[in-house]
């Protein structure tokens, strides 16, 4: 396997740029990027589920909320240290996703979407209504992991978690399990007939994606200092899907490109608050109409145009 490919060198350069970026940007943009990294992890992990495996979950954001609340409540109510509360948040997320996966992953399509949406609403309302325990709609203060509001350390923390999550997902997708997940998405009946235990691997993808979301959520709570049921709003789920679709589903770089570019666009349009959603929506419609493979497809087409590569799929084969 070649290591020094153009793609790998490009990723290394981007990573080096990301490491030195806080030295040249303001604290505000450092915070914006930290939030963008959180959404990158959410989008990349949902892509593992919705993109690569074809399981359209509408409850992915809820696992981040469960991770965040578990870790925060353990610290604030039980006095647990970070090194206990954060792993506990991740483990509870994994446990709940395992139970939900066993319960609902024999269904697919719109039925899976509805079950996961219902689950998300139940959890969100639980956190809203149990005011004395969770702080209700007002939310609950989450102890800051570095004890400071300065965004730079959180930027590096989330940069590290993002790299970890993306590398983990890449390892899964390059392994046999990745092959099985893609075969299940393409044709689950054919996959079963080839010996793939589809329920087992669908549950695995669900647990892995939810566990990564739970990890992101647990760290996120301790980075922004306040968590609330807003984390479980359906808008959050919609944004995650938008990031993946705009960036490019079923690609490793797509969720990264989607989350960072959309968050950046939303920030530069902040002063036009009333119309920024309209502009964003128009961009989504245009991308979906002309490049339904997202920005990654746009990049591919530009690359192809630059290379003047005329060989298309139609001319790539002949009858034997």
């Amino acid at each position: 396997m070649k290591i020094f490919t153009l793609k790998n060198i490009g990723m290394l350069v981007l990573l080096i740029v990301a490491v030195f970026l806080p030295f040249v940007i303001s604290d505000y943009w450092c915070y914006v990027l930290t939030v963008a990294f959180f959404y990158t992890i959410m989008a990349a992990s949902w892509n593992l589920l919705g993109g690569y495996t074809g399981q359209f979950s509408l409850g992915h954001h809820t696992f981040a909320m469960i991770g965040a609340y578990t870790s925060t409540l353990l610290m604030s109510k039980a006095g647990a240290p970070f090194w206990v509360s954060i792993p506990a948040g991740i483990l509870l997320t994994i446990f709940i996703s395992c139970a939900l996966g066993i319960l609902c992953l024999r269904v697919h399509g719109i039925y899976l979407a509805l079950i996961t949406w219902a689950f998300a609403e139940v959890v969100r309302n639980y956190f809203r209504l149990h005011y004395a325990f969770t702080g209700g709609d007002r939310g609950i203060d989450s102890p800051l992991i570095f004890g400071t509001m300065k965004p730079t350390p959180y930027y590096y923390l989330f940069l590290g978690i993002t790299v970890f999550a993306i590398v983990l997902i890449a390892i899964i997708m390059r392994s046999r399990i990745g092959y099985y997940l893609r075969s299940i998405r393409d044709d689950s009946i054919a996959a079963r007939s080839m010996g793939v235990d589809i329920v087992r691997y669908k549950i695995f993808a669900f647990i892995a994606a939810s566990g990564i979301a739970g990890m992101a959520g647990a760290f996120y709570g301790h980075s922004i200092g306040l968590i609330s049921p807003v984390m479980g709003d359906f808008n959050e789920m919609a944004m995650i899907i938008i990031f993946v679709v705009i960036g490019g589903m079923r690609t490793q770089a797509g969720p990264v490109v989607g989350a960072i570019s959309v968050r950046y666009t939303m920030e530069i349009l902040r002063e036009y608050y009333e119309i920024r959603i309209v502009i964003l929506t128009a961009i989504v419609i245009l991308i979906m109409r002309f490049f339904n493979g997202g920005l990654m497809e746009l990049f591919r087409r530009v690359k192809k145009w630059i290379r003047r590569d005329g060989e298309g799929p139609a001319s790539a084969y002949q009858e034997p």
Binding site: R192, S193, P320
Partner: protein
Amino acid sequence: MDDQGNQLLEVKNVVKMFGGLRANDNVSIQIEKGEIRGLIGPNGSGKTTLINLITGIYDVTEGSIYYYGKRIDGVKANVIASMGIMRTFQVARVFRDMTVLENMLIPAFTQGQSGSEAKTRAEELLDFALLTRLKDKQAKSLSGGQNMLLQIVRGFMHKDLKLYVMDEPFAGVHQSIKGIIIESIKMMNQEKGVTFLVVSHEMSTVRTLCNKITVLCKGERIAEGTMEEVANVPEVIDAYLGG
């Protein structure tokens, strides 16, 4: 596997109901090791349903299915595959967004073959099927005939293949591809001892390929024997000529 003499598969008084429709009605078939069995019958006679029952896609309503003497009705499709039963589908079901080579690797991986072993075997089979130059293309860019060929050679990737159930492997494919499919069946049967159950409407191909033929009509088995024997059975003549 338990040794049950020469018998590989036994379908015993199988009934499959879809609501009020009796798709398979008390069907019994025995297939011996090393056979190439043909399964024919008019449209809607229950051939594909029977294949789906054997391979675990459907559950039987009544009756039982034995493989090497072990009951397999009710066993999950992926477990049946791991026992050495592979199948193809009437409309080729390939993993469209995966490459031709990746398609080949799936059954090898599920049977625990190493990456290099699986890749070597896949390249040999793709070479045999004249698909080598397409190995890095996505399956969705292949023609219908190439997809049929791909799903057939993909099944050969199973390292312990015992029974290969093929549903209309010659339907709508180019003559040259049909030749490759026939060659591959003969080769795997003679060299590896793989048993085949082939559903086909192509009587001339079935005649040359199959030792024995089972005829289904309206869900029931109406005849069994060589092509010459079944061709003279009045029910078969009636079923095909509608007399």
